[in-house]
């Protein structure tokens, strides 16, 4: 027995030591606050963090880089917060997560730290999307609204004016495209949140809506069926959209447009900067405008955007708020707009001369963003969005007819709304 102990005990000791050393956290001089976002390709975060740390010695900010897909990052946040984990002090919130995370009690209410006077400085749509149940939960940092990009050079060569209606978009795309090397229109068609954003612009551009004032679903209206049909026809009847869009998220859509494979693209404002970069094949040939709409209706941009919420489980809430309010301020937002592209949330920056040189379309973008419509603000939005994603994807793959998709989606969303009608359902849109 004793001889075996010579083998067993050291082995067990070795294992426990392994665990012990891998579990100990590094000793900090000062406080570290962490949050999760996608890879910092542009270096914007690096610069913002560096400036903040210089002015706030003793506080380190740690950006944990996660996957590009927003769905996956949301799962990562959810997994940590479900466990009451304090890994993330700040939560970099997509606009659609606010209601859900607030409802789950994961966010610190910011009404005191973020008074109405301060809120006025930000775009109204952003503030509205950051509010739920009478409280504000998020400091908006970047705002997004879907825009239509087009190849100025191709349109000018054919002596065509940029389209304003859905029909014009279709006819111009049909005229200018030359598949398979050049397609008419690309957008994010994969079955994920981005598809809902793109679809809502078509839906609202036809004058439809998702949820009415009586908390019932509006997706079986004629406008909605028109929207579903337009999506379907763009792939199968007019054939201006390649089937490959069904695998596209933001990066793939942009890649297709960047390499000159599409005449039109629906994407977020950040794409503008990437198009104008040195190695872009479409540099200087890109125009940007609000999304098309049906005659008589107005164009719609789905509101996107990101901001900081403070985690209830954070052990350094004060320092976290310091960083959050710094990034919400003009200096940091300008750095983001310059380096990363996209639009800042502060109204004042939309007229900033430096940003205007880089983005001459800012005044127009500003108008679009002022009226950008948030997705339904509802703690059960992820489920609602999932229903929309399913049926739009079914329509895009020709597995469901547009009318059936509209009716089925309405039924399913009504079930969700009924099942969950309790307090705080300030659903709109």
């Amino acid at each position: 027995m004793m001889k075996k102990l010579y083998i067993v005990l050291p082995t067990c000791a070795f294992i426990f030591l392994l665990f012990f050393f891998s579990c100990t956290k590094q000793k900090d001089e000062g406080i570290t606050i962490s949050f999760l976002d996608a890879e910092d390709k542009s270096g914007a975060w690096a610069e913002v963090i560096q400036r903040f740390e210089k002015n706030n010695p003793g506080i380190h900010v740690n950006l944990i880089e996660g996957p590009a897909s927003t769905n996956t990052r949301q799962s990562q946040y959810a997994a940590a917060l479900l466990a009451g984990d304090s890994t993330y002090d700040l939560i970099y919130l997509d606009v659609i997560w606010v209601a859900k995370f607030a409802e789950a009690g994961w966010l610190v209410p910011l009404n005191d730290r973020f008074p109405p006077a301060m809120r006025d400085k930000y775009l109204p749509g952003d503030i509205q999307a950051s509010t739920y149940d009478g409280q504000i939960w998020r400091v908006p940092i970047r705002t997004d609204g879907g825009m239509l990009y087009y190849r100025k050079d191709l349109l000018e060569n054919a002596d065509v004016r940029p389209p304003e209606t859905f029909d014009q978009l279709v006819s111009e795309a049909e005229r200018l495209q030359a598949p398979p090397d050049l397609w008419g229109f690309v957008f994010m068609g994969k079955q994920y949140e981005g598809l809902t954003c793109a679809f809502l612009e078509v839906l609202r551009g036809y004058g439809g809506g998702v949820i009415g004032s009586n908390n019932e679903c509006l997706l079986d209206s004629p406008e909605s069926i028109a929207a579903f049909s337009w999506m379907h026809d763009s792939v199968f009847k007019n054939k201006i959209v390649p089937q490959a869009v069904r695998t596209y998220e933001e990066n793939e859509t942009l890649a297709a447009f960047l390499s000159g494979k599409s005449v039109f693209m629906r994407n977020w404002p950040y794409a503008w900067k990437v198009c104008q970069e040195q190695n872009s094949a479409v540099r200087g040939k890109v125009g940007i405008m609000p999304m098309v709409h049906a005659p008589g209706e107005s164009s719609s941009a789905t509101l996107g955007g990101w901001g900081f919420g403070v985690s209830t489980f954070s052990q350094h809430k004060e320092e976290a708020w310091k960083f959050a309010s710094y990034v919400g301020g003009p200096e940091a937002q300008k750095i983001f707009a310059l380096k990363h592209g996209g639009a800042p949330s502060l109204k004042s920056l939309c007229k900033d001369p430096d940003l205007l040189t880089l983005n001459p379309h800012y005044p127009e973008l500003y108008e679009v963003l002022l009226y950008a419509e948030p997705r339904p603000v509802n703690p059960h939005y992820p489920e609602i969005s999932d229903v929309i994603q399913r049926h739009v994807s079914a329509v895009l793959t020709d597995t469901e007819a547009p009318e059936d998709a509209a009716h089925a989606a309405t039924e399913e969303i009504n079930v969700i709304l009924k099942r969950n009608s309790e307090k705080g359902d300030s659903s709109r849109g």
Partner: protein, 94 residues
């Protein structure tokens, strides 16, 4: 070699190529620069081989730490799993 043996070797080589092809393709892609990766037609070997991707993963992420984590987890769980089996071997096949 008999005909049977020839056939066996040929089939095996086809299978090996089938098994290794994605991995080899990935290795080739890892040495291609950003632009080359997205061009058509694709070439089997990189035209302008670059190590920028390998440098990049260590620069942009704490990849060394990730590797260490994997080694720790793999070693610990392997040792733990093998302990009962190892006991039997030590005991009965000395």
């Amino acid at each position: 070699m008999t005909r049977g043996k020839w056939l066996t070797y040929i089939l095996l080589i086809i299978l090996v190529l089938f098994s290794l092809a994605p991995f080899l393709w990935e290795m080739s892609t890892s040495f291609k620069g950003r632009d080359e990766v997205m061009q058509l037609p694709q070439s089997a070997l990189p035209q302008e081989a670059t190590a920028e991707n390998y440098v990049g993963i260590f620069e942009r992420r704490p990849f060394g730490r990730y590797i260490l984590n994997s080694i720790l987890v793999a070693s610990a769980s392997t040792v733990l799993a093998l302990l009962p089996a190892g006991w039997r071997l030590i005991r009965y096949h000395r």
